[in-house]
Symmetry: C2
Subunit: 382 residues, 2 copies
């Protein structure tokens, strides 16, 4: 009882610090609930028209140059035996998000799963059998409300870091990213404007590298200081927080974004997701994809151009070859001659190259020669 009371109190307290975005999301959640009440009032079966997250409802918008969802929706009804459970799950996730926002708290996808999982009263049925069920419902609620999951107060794994001449206000703390030593500022999962603000940005561009081990080389060589840029990595495929931060740095501060990724299908794919969005989560592209991002390297021509030793070649696997051909056929690469040549040359080479391969030239070749000359020549893929 005491517990319940304290939560109510907290609710009252945190209600005062709702951000504009919180208020928008709560409003959308209220409207969702209102529709159920209205249906019930007139004796109609409550339903939800959920934008379809199927592949057939995903298209590449050539004007905006991002992957986006089409207008297809599918109806989910309460009084339909095959849809009733999914209907209940959708509203359960929505109610969980409401609780989080009102409490001013955030949690992980797994956290929400545990928060909402229980045996339905009077049955032996679980609300969710495993996390994949609640994850899928979270995506439905995102498209239903046109809200990023971060706006529903849900966070993902963090695995990116940044340094550079910019000050970040993170929940009121002022963090000077030019004084972060060898560790750097851990990029949080939720970087929405109500939590993270930018101050005193002196950087002229952002250099995003694929891996933390490469980032450490750039940081140790103080690349960001010499070239006046922000230096980030995303631990491979960058998590949502990193993509959203790059998006905000680009669109709010006008910083060009350059990516240093491996010369392999995985590097191409990472670039594709940063640039055009992801096919599976097409609805988030409009707040994450950065069509103007540029691919600085590594390139298939670098083996010859940089005079690398055959020792650093890694033979393409069957899987690599298959993936490279798929990527070459992506609509956003299909019409780009430079990308077609790039992928063709990799296939012709028969090998891939990691950024670390440049260490065979010199430990700081990548920071002192490779990237500076690519930048100076404006030599990158679009």
């Amino acid at each position: 009882m005491a517990k319940r009371k304290s939560r109510t109190l907290e609710k009252a307290e945190t209600a005062a610090v709702l951000s504009d975005s919180d208020r928008r999301t709560l409003q959308a959640l209220h409207e969702l609930a209102q529709k159920v009440v209205q249906s019930a009032a007139v004796g109609r079966s409550p339903y939800l028209d959920i934008p379809s997250r199927t592949l057939s409802n995903v298209r590449f918008n050539k004007t905006k140059r991002i992957i986006e969802m089409g207008s297809g929706t599918s109806r989910r009804e309460l009084f339909n035996l095959s849809q009733a459970k999914a209907y209940m799950q959708t509203l359960l996730v929505a109610s969980g998000a409401k609780r989080l926002i009102e409490q001013g708290k955030t949690t992980s996808l797994r956290g929400l799963y545990y928060m909402l999982k229980h045996t339905i009263k009077g049955t032996s049925e679980e609300t969710f059998d495993d996390q994949s069920e609640s994850d899928s419902m979270i995506e439905d609620v995102e498209v239903l409300l046109n809200a990023l999951r971060e706006e529903l107060h849900l966070y993902a794994k963090t695995q990116g870091v940044m340094v550079g001449p910019i000050t970040i206000i993170d929940n009121g703390d002022e963090i000077d990213c030019s004084r972060m030593g060898s560790g750097g500022y851990g990029i949080p999962s939720i970087v929405e404007p109500d939590r993270i603000q930018f101050r005193d940005c002196k950087a002229e561009f952002v250099l995003h590298v694929e891996k933390d081990t490469v980032w450490q080389r750039f940081n140790e060589d103080k690349f960001w200081l010499k070239h006046n840029c922000i230096l980030t990595h995303g631990g491979g495929q960058p998590p949502r927080g990193v993509r959203r931060l790059l998006y905000r740095l680009h669109y709010e501060l006008g910083l060009p974004i350059y990516c240093v990724l491996d010369n392999d299908p995985w590097g191409y794919y990472i670039y594709s997701v940063i640039k055009q969005g992801s096919i599976n989560l097409a609805y988030e592209s409009k707040r994450m994809a950065i069509p103007e991002v540029r691919f600085l390297g590594l390139r298939s021509s670098d083996f010859e151009r940089c005079g690398l030793s055959p020792s650093v070649q890694i033979k393409l696997s069957e899987q690599d070859i298959k993936r490279a051909k798929q990527i070459a056929n992506y609509p956003w690469f299909a019409n780009k001659r430079a990308w077609q040549k790039e992928i063709e040359l990799m296939l012709k080479n028969g090998f891939k190259l990691e950024v670390e391969a440049l260490i065979s030239k010199d430990i700081s070749y990548v920071t002192e020669e490779y990237v500076p000359s690519r930048l100076a020549e404006g030599d990158f893929l679009d």
Copy 2:
């Protein structure tokens, strides 16, 4: 040529900023090379006596309570057809470490592999066929010189974060870990005293949690502020930098370390490595293992004690059961009644519990009730 010159210059510059640890390591590398010269001078076959990293040479030191290496060594000779390549590789890795230290630079294991990989002149033989070969030689050089790989200027992946009332000097930058917002300070891979110093520590203990998603809950609830502690995570099995930092916080600042890990064999194993060291890398225990660390939870008894719903149980797999029995037989757990009871009860329960399962009680149950009451009662496993 210009390149070569600039490197020499740099060498001269950085020679001035060698740390004491760098000097010690360089001295050991010189002695290693001297022995080769001496053997050659007297016409004897050069050899190395390398402490054996085999399982049979690993033992649990009951007094020190850490896993350590025995005194077994194995000889590696140049003029022995089956050992010549390994001999060459060992010295190659040593020369690579020397180059890194003299240049004042660091690199990843993969970076060193690329740095040293080449086709041996006049043959079609590669110095290393793949990275596992150079990794293994790095471990040999570590035991040979009694130096951590960080002292050889090699870094690992980073994946831990910290916040709390302590200021860190990281390569000259002053970082106030109590003003790190939601992101936190990314714990670097190399946290040796010549790079990272502690200032103004007001914390009374360290709370180490397993996963970043749980860490985010503790940080959002400002647990570290309310309980005056340092809050860290290691992204699962903590990487070397995190373990070494915990070690330094414990032994240099006298802070007790408490771990909040899952109630499953993986959680037990993480605890075991932090506490006693890892079996595979036994030689590093003396500078990483913290026998005084304490296991705060989750516990097998928590299902009943905390009144959790059966919905949060995760059935033990065959593999879990096998691992649990192995861990119960570790010499450092075998004689501890509390640990034997803990593991027995998990096996009897037939299920495991994640820390996130506590969210089913309340989103902040873990930070507001579970951990505070365990701390207040002094209820933990040793």
